[in-house]
Structure formats: structure tokens, C-alpha cells
Amino acid sequence: MAVFKLLRQSPWSARCGIAIVLLNIAAAILAPVVAPYGETEIVGDVWVSMSGDHLLGTDHLGRDLFTRLLYGARNTIAIAFITTMLSFVVGTVCGFFAATLKGWVDQLLSRMVDILMAFPTLIFALMALSVVGTSIGALILVIALLDSTRVYRLSRAVAMDIAVMEYVEAARLRGEKTWWLMRQEILPNAMPPLVAEFGLRFCFVFLFIAALSFLGLGIQPPMADWGGMVRENSGAITFGIFIPLWPAGAIAFLTVGVNLIVDWFLHVASGLKD
């Protein structure tokens, strides 16, 4: 019920954001039902303009662009979501461990993260992918590892504040194990900043995967994904055909949506009233 009350009070910007995200999720889940053609089905000529048969025209191989966009939503969002989840699991577990155990664990993890963060993410990812190859599993692991450094920083800082509270001290004194402390005492109290961070990290990961796919090093064809679709069709733009703008716009659209929600969430969580 509290959720509905919060939603009723939400500003228009957050409602737009929620609508955008829901629309994208619906597209991702319902892709096989809604899409008029198959994901890799060639249905017509190359770069046909918009018509009743092809809502947004066709791509560089004559596949229906609308269908590809729907399936692209499915692949791109799912992979970005799994990556963000993985990065959060690794980042928060390490961050909480560092904050509860302190000492050399904290030192070791923090210095490792310092060094990883001193290195540009894109360059690191390019190097790692050139070594392990560009499979989806490798993509998810590499990006999740790189992104978990940011999650680590935040979750460690948040958990540091919580770990010195009396109730954690009390739990420690009655002999609870570290894992129990992390799950039962620290995690519930660290949730609000972590949820907001999840939105931001998702945006970052999503844009990052799109960028890698755009460079031809992310999700590989013939799987539909938005970054790759921009790359495949980029030649069209010099002929005055604006097909690459659709998938690129879809990426921007979803990111703006998530950012709007995060903005509102941060505003609510910080307790500011204006």
C-alpha cells in the first residue's frame, strides 16, 4: 500500500520514467507475441522506408526493423540486467565484508579496487575482450567485474556507517557470524542508497554494452541488439535514411526513463521537500 501512496505523490517526471521503463519491459517480454516477423527473418528489400507492412522500414539485410527493435529490447535489457545483478552481488558482498571485517581484508580489497578504478573502463573492457573473445558470457563477466568496483565503493561506505551502530555491536556481542550480520543487520539498512545506485549502474552498464556492441565487440549478430543495430545500419545515414536513429533513440529513451525514476527516488530517499 505504501508503494501506491508513494506513486500517487510522484511528480510527472517520475511517472514518465515509470511508463518508459514499463513499456520497454513489456516490449522485451512480449517480443515474440507482438513482433510481426521472426528475429532474423528476411522479409523484403534493403532499407525499405516505413509502410503498413513494415512499421519502421527494413534494415541493411531486409529484416523488419520494428521486429528487430522488439527482440533487441529483449536481448539488450536482459543482458544488461543480468550484468548489473552480478556486479551488485559481487560488489555488495565484497563491500560488506570489507566494512564488517575491516583490517587487512578491507585494505586488500580497497587497494585492488583503487587500481581497477584508476584504469579507464572502456579500455580495460576492450583489452579483456580481445583476450577472452567476445562471447556473451565473457561480456557479462568482464563488465560485471569492472562495474562491481563502483558498487563496492558505495556499499563499503554505507556499510561502514552501519557497522558501528549499537544494534550491530549488540548482534556481534551475542555471537552472530559475519555472514548473519551482513544479511540481517547491514543489508536491510543499506537498501535505499543501493536501490538508487542500482538504477544508475543499470544505465551505465546498458550504455556500456550498447557502446561495445556498436564497436562490434559486444553482442554478436545475428542476435538483435540496439547497439549492434546502429552499427549495422550506420551506412544508411549518409544516404539520408535515418534508420540508425531508431535503435540509438531507443537506447537513449530507456536510459532517460531510468534516470528520471532514480532522480525521484534519490529525492524521496534524501527526505528533501520543496
Binding site: I123, M127, V230, A252
Partner: protein, 318 residues
């Protein structure tokens, strides 16, 4: 003064350690490759004798730590090795492309930095006004856009609809300076748009942070004029975060350049890196990654050192 010096030295030492660790990581990355370089070059059907001879030639038969120092020593002397794809010395491939990348990134920086700081200060001064809100919404959406979206919108508008700038920025040494500038207008504009948004938001936040502190309120209460408060009291204190913001974004620019170079087929280091990754031309990847990393770490280091030096509290310790 000593505290500053020791802080700066500490930062420099950390930067050096980071660069060394990164170089080890880059080196190990290639080591971890299943099979090794010989297989990548000669193919899997090569005879054992050929492989052994080739391994000796590439010094792959030596233990890893010796090869690491030999590799590092070669790089220090400017010898980056040869490309696997075409056998040419990497220094030849990298040199002029790197100059092109610096040309593009610095042109973007020259426009973006003053523009972003000005906007940031204005937005902070007139915060919560219509002007501030408009800028804030505009920058929030630019941040959400992938670089290539901004790039293709610019191409669609300025290169296809109004035929003013080329959509492919091919530059070479034969071109005059203004011809080069004309060729890089679109990539430069894309980078500027992306960086200005970040830089402006951070500058605004930094200055608002300073304006909220007690000594600014004190200055206001003493009846000092608004302009004087900003120039004499707020600005020296905001300088340190602002310098930090600028340097961090320049570092971001160096990396953002990779995607923009690919969009505009600009002959730069980023383009070379992406090509080499897809060809798995590892020595070239190693060399370009190392160059990007050193620049990125160097700029971050510069940010730290400058912000330590420009902080009035650090300069005048009690």
C-alpha cells in the same frame, strides 16, 4: 608547505604504482591467452620445429618475469614491437594516429572547458531559476544519450539535411589547418556536447557546495557586495573542485574519443584499438591500451595534484 609536498609525492607514488600494476595486467592478459602468440601467427597446423624456432625468435621460451622486464624496457626505449596483422612496427602505426587523437581531444577540450565552467557558474548563481532548470534538463538528457546517438543526430542534421560538414572526418598531413578543422567539426561537437553536460553539472554542484558554507554566509552578513563575495571568497575555494572536474573530464574525453572516432571513421588511436581488438592483434592492443591508460592515469594524477595545490586550506596550514 611540507604537508603539500608529502601529499603530492604520495599521489605521484600511487600513480606510478598504478601504472606499473596496469602494465603487469596488460602483460598478463596476453599471457593468459589459450595457446600463445605463435599459434595466433602461424596457425594451428604449424610444425613443432617451426613453432619452437618462432618461440625462440619472439623470446617466448624465456620465463614470464624476464619477458615482462624486457617488454617494459623495450617500451621505455620507444620500441613497441611489431603488429601481428601486417608485421609493421607498432610505433609507426601508433605515432601519427595518436597525434590525430590528441588533436581531436584537445580541440574539443578548448571549446568545452570554458563553456562548461561558464554555464556551471551561471547555473549555480541563478539556481532554481528557469535558466537553471532548462540547463539541468538539457544536460541530464545529454548524459543519458549514448555518444553515437548524439553523433548520428548531428550527422543527420548538419551533414545530410544541411550539407555543411562532412560525415566522415578523414584528415591527413597534406591538409591545411583550416581544412582539418572543418573536417573534425562534427566529432569535435559530439565530444563537446557529451563532456559539457558532465562538467557543467559537476561545476554547478561544486560551487553550490561552496556557496552553502558558513564563511560565505558570513561574508554576505558583513555586507560585502555579491560580486566580491563570489570572486574573492567563493572562487578560490571552488577552484580546487573545479580543476578536479576539468581534469577528470579531460580524462573521460580521451576515452570517449574511441567511440566518436569509430562513428566518424577518424584515423585515430581509438579506431586502431577497436580494429586491433576485433582482429585480435594483441601487441597493438597492448600498446594502445598502455598509451590510453598512461594518459588517463596521468590526467587523474594532475587533477589530484592541482586540486591539492590550489586548495587555500592546504596552502596555508595552521
Amino acid at each position: 608547505m611540507n604537508t603539500i609536498l608529502s601529499l603530492v609525492l604520495k599521489r605521484l607514488a600511487f600513480g606510478l604504482v598504478t601504472i606499473i600494476v596496469i602494465s603487469v595486467l596488460i602483460f598478463i592478459g596476453v599471457e593468459a591467452l589459450p595457446g600463445d602468440l605463435t599459434e595466433a601467427i602461424l596457425g594451428q597446423s604449424a610444425l613443432p620445429e617451426t613453432i619452437a624456432a618462432f618461440r625462440k625468435e619472439l623470446k617466448l621460451d624465456l620465463p614470464p618475469h624476464i619477458r615482462y622486464f624486457a617488454w617494459l624496457g623495450d617500451i621505455m626505449r620507444g620500441n613497441l614491437g611489431n603488429s601481428l596483422a601486417n608485421g609493421r612496427p607498432i610505433a609507426d602505426l601508433v605515432g601519427w594516429r595518436f597525434a590525430n587523437t590528441l588533436f581531436l581531444a584537445s580541440s574539443a577540450a578548448v571549446i568545452a572547458v570554458p563553456f562548461a565552467i561558464m554555464l556551471g557558474i551561471l547555473a549555480a548563481l541563478y539556481r532554481n531559476s528557469l535558466f537553471d532548470r532548462a540547463i539541468s534538463i538539457a544536460t541530464l538528457s545529454t548524459i543519458s544519450f549514448p555518444e553515437f546517438f548524439v553523433a548520428y543526430i548531428l550527422v543527420a542534421l548538419l551533414s545530410v539535411k544541411l550539407v555543411v560538414f562532412p560525415s566522415i572526418s578523414n584528415i591527413n598531413d597534406g591538409m591545411a589547418f583550416w581544412e582539418k578543422i572543418h573536417a573534425i567539426v562534427l566529432p569535435c561537437l559530439t565530444l563537446t556536447l557529451v563532456v559539457v553536460a558532465h562538467m557543467m553539472r559537476q561545476t554547478r554542484a561544486a560551487i553550490i557546495n561552496i556557496l552553502a558554507s558558513a564563511f560565505i554566509e558570513m561574508a554576505h552578513l558583513k555586507g560585502i557586495k555579491r560580486l566580491r563575495v563570489i570572486v574573492v571568497h567563493a572562487f578560490p575555494n571552488a577552484l580546487s573542485p573545479v580543476i578536479n572536474v576539468v581534469a577528470l573530464n579531460l580524462a573521460y574525453l580521451v576515452v570517449g574519443v574511441v567511440i566518436v572516432e569509430v562513428v566518424f571513421v577518424y584515423p585515430g588511436l581509438g579506431q586502431l584499438l577497436v580494429d586491433s581488438v576485433s582482429k585480435r592483434d594483441l601487441p597493438v592492443v597492448q600498446a594502445s591500451c598502455l598509451i590510453f591508460a598512461v594518459i588517463y592515469i596521468g590526467l587523474n594524477l594532475l587533477a589530484d595534484v592541482l586540486s591539492i595545490i590550489s586548495n587555500p586550506r592546504m596552502r596555508n596550514p595552521r
